[in-house]
């Protein structure tokens, strides 16, 4: 909160958004469910923000709120990567034997 929003951050957001559009348009419908699971896992990066807040000993209220936030984001990160891998593992080409 001590930070002032720089114009470069807005650039970053817009350019990353364009990059995302280009990358994701190329993903076939076949993989749309794993894509959702994957972006879920990746957006669990909110964890890093939550960790910093949880580590600052400002007051019990902020600590508790951040604790819940860390828990939720961890669920998304760990759960998201596991389930994405589970889904992707199932996609097989013809002829390959069952695992």
């Amino acid at each position: 909160m001590t930070n002032v929003l720089g114009i470069s951050d807005v650039y970053l957001f817009i350019l990353a958004g364009f990059l995302g559009f280009q990358l994701i348009l190329r993903i076939p419908p076949l993989l749309h469910t794993p894509l959702m699971a994957a972006t879920n896992a990746i957006s669990g990066i909110a964890l890093v923000g939550s960790i910093v807040i949880a580590g600052q000993n400002y007051s019990l209220v902020t600590n508790l709120l951040a604790f819940i936030a860390v828990t939720c984001s961890t669920i998304n990160v760990v759960g998201g990567f596991i389930i994405t891998d589970r889904i992707l593992k199932m996609f097989k080409k013809e002829g390959k034997k069952k695992p």
Partner: protein, 461 residues
Amino acid sequence: MSIIQSCYLLSAVLFILGIKFLSSPETARRGMHLALFGMIIAIVGTLFNAEIVTYFWIIGGLVLGTLLSLPISLWVPMTKIPQRIALSHAGGALAASLIGIAEYYRYSASLDSMNAGIIGAEVLLGSLTFTGSLMVAAKLHGILPARPITYKGQNFVNLTLFALMLGLLLYLILNPALNTTFYTILGLSLLFGVFLVTPIGAADMPVVIAIFNAYGGLVSAIMGFMLANRIQIITGALDGASGFILSMLMCKAMNRSIGNVLLGAFGKTEASTQNNQAGGAQDVPVKSLTAEEALAFFEQAKSVIVVPGYGMAASQAHHALREFVDKLKSKNINVKYAIHPVAGRMPGHMNVLLAEANVPYTDLYDMDDINPEFPHADIALVVGANDVTNPAARLVKSSPIYGMPILDVDKAKKVLVCKRSMNPGFSGIENDLYLQENTWLIFDDAKATLSKMAYGFKGGW
């Protein structure tokens, strides 16, 4: 550049590569391993942040979160993936809102207008995504009725509420220190999430899940702006772009606009149109068959196209279907699967279920690729799909679904439909496909039918 910043830069590159690798099933897993590596780098780097003075809450949250994540990732069945994804949208949005609240709680006295606006927007969008996604999950899981729940003046109430929230957000920007405004926005947004999803039926959930995916990304990016955390801005933008693309694709596949999905209460309105429309059509009897009789058709077939829909997921028929198809293939019958973009309850739902049943993904075809092949197919076997096969979308101008891209099932030489009953599909529209000369219906649970057919076919062979 500090060590933490270098870690974040590296993980941003790894995330982008990870998403790039998702463009093919061959490389997708490798891509996710890269992304996971990036995530670990980012988390470990963060732990060395100089602002951290206590690790008690951090470690507690990490451990608890890991434990709680296992049941909803390792053991959740693939048929429940849509509600699982909706739940994780809710979790992500909740985390962002809580951090927004914590930051406001701490700095409310000294906030400038811009930061108040950022926090306000984060909490507004985060809270409505949280309750909205919970509603989606509850509807998909069957805790709440899947049908749209509507009342008179609903759109008016929702739009007023939304305008009120925006007004309050503006007021907060002008008076950043006013606690009441902030907490009212929080309360109203939580309420709005519930109201927003109430009138939306389960068949429209592919769009709604994708929209909340986009919101989740946006909230994450706003949180990045709030904390001046660039990695969150980047991933938020990627996630948001993904959600918006998916919702656009889903809307296109239903020939509707996002506004129409959110305000339209589809199933409801069409149910009434269907009543005056179907009167004449119902006089024509449909032809029905038993599973055993249907087998005779397959004895002479050379090529079969399978069209799965939500009914296949609902009756968990995908394993039985694959067994039957294996039998067909062993007799050198060419079998392909036709996947409509909005079949099922979320983008790509059918692909995942069929992959779970060990159907090779090379047998799955998207709508545009398979449609020219229907006229050459001996049999189109429809398993629990309805509206996406309705020729009215192509032919009947007055039909509510006119213009929606459909699978051209009606052009196949013979059409067999596994269907539980004559009830119309989710949109409530009568399907003219069932009245066609070359269509036969097999009334039963799809799983029972397909198991019988798989067994029976073996006997014949």
